[in-house]
Symmetry: C2
Subunit: 152 residues, 2 copies
């Protein structure tokens, strides 16, 4: 079994999962603090999906951290397959949520300040950027896991 860096049970994999958890939490935090995100369907969608991604990434980060500590990666083909499927589903949803939030932020930024005060608007923008970063890291860890799959 060759060791693909960034795949499940490696320290790079742990770092990727931790990054996903942090970025999704930041996206959720910036979206829900202060603003009135529930006025826009896309922002509600983003908050829902981030609420799904955080526990998923956190659990897998714990699993990876445990694997690194005991220096024996927990790797079974069935488990890896389920994780890859789950990753792809959340990946798709995260991308959809992030792009729809970006479209709404674009419209809000072009409108005059009465619709969305600059302070709130920049929070929405930051939240969208963090959601895209979380998507990017998820993409990386899911590709590394897919690469690992045939060798198991």
């Amino acid at each position: 079994m060759d060791d693909v860096p960034g795949s499940m049970g490696t320290s790079a994999g742990f770092a990727l999962r931790l990054g996903q958890t942090i970025f999704s939490s930041a996206a959720l935090l910036f979206m829900s603090l202060g603003g009135q995100f529930y006025s826009y369907t896309s922002f509600c969608f983003l908050v829902t999906i981030m609420g799904l991604v955080i526990p998923w990434s956190f659990t897998l980060a714990l699993l990876d951290g445990y694997s690194v500590l005991i220096t024996h990666p927990v790797r079974q083909k069935g488990i890896l397959f389920i994780i890859i499927i789950g990753d792809w589903v959340l990946l798709t949803l995260t991308l959809a949520a992030a792009s729809s939030a970006a479209a709404v932020v674009d419209i809000l930024l072009r409108a005059d300040g009465s619709v969305c005060p600059p302070k709130i608007c920049s929070r929405y923008l930051l939240s969208t950027i963090f959601a895209f970063l979380s998507w990017f890291l998820s993409m990386a860890s899911s590709l590394f896991n897919l690469w690992l799959l045939p060798s198991l």
Copy 2:
């Protein structure tokens, strides 16, 4: 070499590619006819991506049709790999474009009729639905091709 239905060089694969071409053309047509899509960044993005998806899907549909006619699928690992990569890139872009267009359509439908007359608005909506259908078919053919890859 086992024959995965829906993968490259099969008649189901040809049908999937043809469906993608038709749905992307419909999305492009409904978006660009009559409306003022260039006022919204997301709609411009959708038109650009559909303009990329149509030639890609059409070329692969021709290749599949040719393979079905000569009853000998053109299958080489390198070519299949390039097609899978290209499919995933366009898949991601199509999903991003379709979801951002959906977010804008949602905002336009909630606004009063002055922003977007019902006739134009329903065209935008139809275009978004066709873009999602095209994404769905691309997803199917890319998964079938990925399934075929290890057996080559």
